[in-house]
């Protein structure tokens, strides 16, 4: 039976309800909450391990104490992880912040033109963009690394940023286009009748009401770029410029058993996106919806 509460029409007198039904009605929310809690515990389990193991001393990370809380809480693993990863976290910030901003701006311009200042063939252009969201990046990786290597960028991080900006265009365009589709057409027309051209309309009428789309897009892009491994591992060959994902994989991959360090490093590397997520989770959810080609 379903765990959702059975609602009877209010007009049905209580005494006419079959008794078993009343019992089920009372029990249903309990079953539902139990199910929800079990799922929550399972999903949070890796976090428990991350935190608990991260605070253990090396001695306690042996199999015998696998699931136990640390006897002795220590931050030595955290300090070690910070020492190893902080330069790479700076790299990731240097990478993610400008790339997020630029790809969001491009998405805004595209989304506006593709939904509110349309030109013949706008739908074809949009489909042409969308496909770029689904392609396996492996299919462009070999020529991309070759091409980027030819560009005269002084450092490798800007190359990676460029890749993230370009391959972020489809998703950012999609989010903005879907958002702008909800803005009434007559607002644009009104602005045009008031004598405004395209840029003026974008600046004075559209941008001031685009804040939600900006937040959603920036969260999405920041998370994707921060968490990316594929582009980074192909494009960055200079270890001093590794973003945090590559550095994390190298540190932990080479270690066999220093679980405390592995776990604290993993959590540390995830902190920026987690903080963004905890603070702005509602918008994150909206971003997901947009990513599903809805709207």
């Amino acid at each position: 039976m379903t765990a959702t509460p059975t609602t009877l029409p209010a007009s049905v007198p209580a005494r006419s309800r079959p008794g078993w039904r009343r019992v089920k009605k009372a029990r249903a929310p309990a079953i539902k909450y139990t199910a929800l809690l079990i799922f929550a515990v399972i999903i949070l389990m890796p976090v428990y391990i991350l935190i608990v193991t991260g605070f253990k001393g090396v001695a306690e990370t042996d199999p015998a104490h696998a699931w136990a809380l640390p006897h002795l809480w220590t931050t030595s693993a955290w300090r070690q992880a910070w020492d190893q990863l902080s330069p790479n976290m700076m790299n990731s910030l240097e990478l993610a912040i400008p790339a997020t901003i630029l790809s969001t701006v491009l998405g805004c311009l595209n989304g506006f033109a593709l939904s509110k200042w349309r030109f013949p063939g706008a739908n074809i252009v949009f489909t042409f963009f969308l496909f770029g969201m689904f392609i396996p990046y492996q299919a462009v990786m070999i020529p991309l690394t070759e091409l980027l290597a030819k560009l005269q960028f002084p450092a490798q991080l800007p190359r990676l940023a460029l890749a993230h900006i370009i391959y972020g265009i489809p998703i950012t365009t999609l989010i903005f286009r879907n958002y702008y589709a909800t803005i009434p057409e007559d607002l644009m027309e009104s602005s045009r009748m008031d004598g405004a051209g395209m840029l003026r309309t974008l600046w004075s009428v559209v941008l001031p009401i685009s804040v939600p789309a900006f937040v959603v897009t920036m969260i999405w892009q920041f998370t994707s770029i921060w968490n990316d491994f594929l582009f980074a591992v192909f494009i960055i060959t200079d270890p001093s410029q590794y973003p945090v994902t590559v550095a994390l994989n190298n540190t932990t991959g080479s270690l066999v058993s220093a679980y405390d360090l592995q776990m604290s490093a993993a959590l540390l590397a995830s902190l920026p996106t987690l903080v963004v997520y905890i603070l702005l989770g509602r918008y994150f959810m909206r971003g997901l919806m947009a990513g599903a080609l809805k709207g």
Binding site: D186, E189, M193, D194, G195, V205, P208
Partner: protein, 411 residues
């Protein structure tokens, strides 16, 4: 202020559909012309072509003598009031009203003065600092008007500006807009599907159907002399009663047989409609509900009387609508406006009566009930006749007394 000349205006979509077909209209300086018609008749498309929001496929548009086909909407010096007002949600009322002037880079002092004047004119001074969300529907409507007025444009375009208001407010705003337009004397094109709005506000009314202009004239003429069956049935509420009728020649003159009634037609009416040519044929005869009387002591002279059985009564307070069936075929559904053709489910109405249902506006205290039989009379001078094939009115194009009088003076 400028006159608008529309010549053969056509909107054709890539799929071949023509929303507006060969529309020709002259709108005089300071005139308020209402474009009216059922939904989908092309009235909004026509307005949007004038505005420049819609490409003109064919034909020419002149505003103040200047050809506007290729002029961008922002350069046409036209202000438009939208159905949903289209107020900028992030701007205050003052900013909304001032937006066009800001874009035109008017000096700040001038903008401030004109915003103030406009607000005063519309009695929205206390709302200048509010946002559109904090306003009621009627207030938003005024702000939308203000945004149009402040520009002092050549032309106002209004796209169903009152359709989102409730009935009482609509009546009030109708009067206000009309008065404002007269005062500012700006050439205005007003689109509505509401024939009452059209009749009350328009200096002239243009009736559109399926993209084609049916008739353009003063409200009075549109009502009194509808050019075809569609206009006759669209303008007027309740609509004109229409049914097939046969024209016969008798020794006393022409008669028209409407169901069982055989009505003698006054000579002058027959001449005006050239009914001689229709002897022995069917026409569509029409009579407005208010031209059907209940026969009492006072009324019964010239008018043809008929016995009718009342099937339905609607007491409206100020009047009483009585419905009865006339044993005559109704005009083709696609000729009249009552119900869109695609919505006609069956020929026979649900009431189960045969023939055509007629409506009459009776005295409010007529005391009629369903099932009553009463005698009604038609005001014969107000009979309308239409060609059943072409739907066109049989009324001669030039009404003798109207056209000849000025000529006589000249002579």
């Amino acid at each position: 202020m400028a006159e608008i000349v529309i010549n053969g205006l056509t909107k054709r979509y890539p799929n071949g559909f023509e929303a507006v077909k060969d529309l020709t209209l002259d709108i005089g300086e300071g005139e308020l012309l209402v474009l009216v018609g059922p939904s989908g008749c092309g009235k909004t498309t026509a307005l949007r072509m004038i505005a420049g929001l819609e490409e003109i496929s064919d034909g020419d548009l002149y505003i103040g003598g200047q050809r506007m086909n290729d002029v961008l909407e922002k350069d046409r010096d036209i202000a438009m009031v939208f159905q949903n007002y289209a107020l900028y949600p992030h701007m205050t009322v003052a900013q909304n009203i001032a937006f066009s002037l800001k874009i035109a880079r008017r000096p700040r002092a001038e903008i401030k003065r004109r915003v103030h004047e406009t607000a005063q004119l519309l009695a929205i001074e206390e709302m200048l600092d509010r946002r559109p969300k904090q306003l009621s529907g009627g207030q938003r409507q005024r702000v939308a008007m203000g945004r149009a007025i402040i520009r002092q444009p050549q032309v106002f375009l209004m796209d169903e500006p009152l359709s989102n208001l409730d009935a009482k407010l609509r009546v009030q705003m109708r009067g206000e807009i009309d008065a404002l337009q007269k005062r500012l004397a700006v050439t205005t094109v007003y689109v509505t599907h509401d024939q009452v709005e059209a009749m009350t506000m328009g200096d002239r009314v243009a009736v559109l159907r399926d993209g084609k202009l049916q008739q353009v004239d003063t409200p009075f003429q549109i009502y009194e002399r509808p050019a075809n069956l569609f206009v006759a049935s669209f303008i007027g509420s309740p609509p004109m009663n229409l049914a097939e009728a046969a024209i016969k020649q008798t020794k006393d003159g022409l008669t028209v047989s409407l169901g069982e009634a055989e009505i003698a037609i006054p000579h002058e009416l027959a001449a005006r409609n050239s009914l001689d040519a229709w002897v022995g044929k069917s026409v569509i005869a029409g009579i407005r509900p208010e031209d059907i009387y209940e026969v009492t002591r006072k009324t019964a002279k010239l008018q043809a009387a008929m016995q009718v059985k009342i099937d339905r009564v609607e007491a409206l307070g100020a009047s009483l609508l009585g419905y009865f069936s006339v044993d005559a075929a109704a005009p083709r559904a696609e000729s009249v406006s009552a119900i869109p053709a695609e919505e006609v489910l069956s020929e026979a109405p649900l009431t189960g009566t045969s023939g055509t249902s007629f409506c009459a506006i009776f005295e409010p205290r007529a005391m009629l009930k369903i099932g009553d039989t009463t005698e009604v009379a038609l005001d014969l001078s107000r009979l309308h006749f239409f060609d059943p094939e072409t739907d066109a009115s049989l009324l001669a194009e030039d009404e003798p007394e109207k056209k000849k009088k000025p000529e006589a003076k000249k002579k």
